[in-house]
Subunit: 229 residues, 2 copies
Amino acid sequence: MKPTITAFERSPDCGRGLARDMRVRWALEEVGQPYDVRLVSFSGMKEPPHLARNPFGQIPTYEENGLVLFESGAIVLHIANHHSGLLPDDADARMRAIAWMLAAVATLDPPIMDRSLCALFERDQPWHAQRLATLDTQVRKRLGELSRHLGDAEWLEGAFSAGDLMTVHVLLRLRGSGLLDEVPNLATYVARGEARPAYQRAFEAQRAVFAASSPQGGTAEGDSATTIA
Amino acid sequence: MKPTITAFERSPDCGRGLARDMRVRWALEEVGQPYDVRLVSFSGMKEPPHLARNPFGQIPTYEENGLVLFESGAIVLHIANHHSGLLPDDADARMRAIAWMLAAVATLDPPIMDRSLCALFERDQPWHAQRLATLDTQVRKRLGELSRHLGDAEWLEGAFSAGDLMTVHVLLRLRGSGLLDEVPNLATYVARGEARPAYQRAFEAQRAVFAASSPQGGTAEGDSATTIA
């Protein structure tokens, strides 16, 4: 039986691939696992049927033969545990890759998400300029540390892994901020992730959902206040 | 060979158990695994030997027979995978517990950490009250969702798991904010975690480190500006 994931009925990022179902779609594409998608509206996400899937009312979720999962990191780990191609076979290398998955969601994502939310939604707040500068500094610090670890390598720990998948997706939110372009090896790293055929298939799949939901046939509306997911 | 973890030489929370080595200590105590501790100073955390352990220059790290791990969530998962007592044997129940570990670090921790940092370090900003109120609302939303899921249960998914361990530790940072006390079933849940003998042993171990480092013999200095870890 194919697993079923949930995704935004109408993604607030206008199909730019920033919503977290993208991580799960990408992982499923990497391992060649077909899947179904249940689209949920913003109001539907806060109703009992979806809260039973995710107590925090977020997407993505994952359902398969009675198992119900939430948290993109946990879902990607589940997929990686049941298919080859996303985590090394060697036990120690496998844990290192999982550590990078955790670093992506717990160490890199929070300042990047804060920075994005501040840039988009706090423009009229008295603290906007000062706080955005502080957050830019925090993000630059993390990018510098990540860049130093990556060096000239293609991926974080040798071969491509779920750790890279999660990290690349977290970094993609910086597109348009200019911060990623300041760090050439990270900009190349992200581009390397995006160039993977599995990423491309996942991206087109989520984009098609937005296109179908949009009166303009999916033309991104150019309103940066909506480019958050 | 005993594993070695890293912890603050002098924890900025004055031994109140908020630093993230507490999660690893607690997990090791739950499974009865002795461990060694390497203390690192704030400057040492940014130097090459520690950056080789954690590219982001943070504690805790974990070293065991050539394996070097970072990210408290990954370390606790590694411990849980190699000992019984922290994750269910059933595969689906195990993934559910892991999903809660991810929720703790990726969904609950970021707003709680933001709120804590704002309360401590932005007190002199003219917009402090307004921003703190916004963050309180975000934290209350997550607490309400978590409370609804927990209901009258003792633990998040039946038996105590690493998901509870991580969640309780994230919630402990709210102590003193009053926010946790607004949600009785969560306050009880956290107290239930703290009452576990393994938690108590871990707490005393980290507290002893601070006591040994402090000229006052470990008396908490009462300066809330330093109670962050």
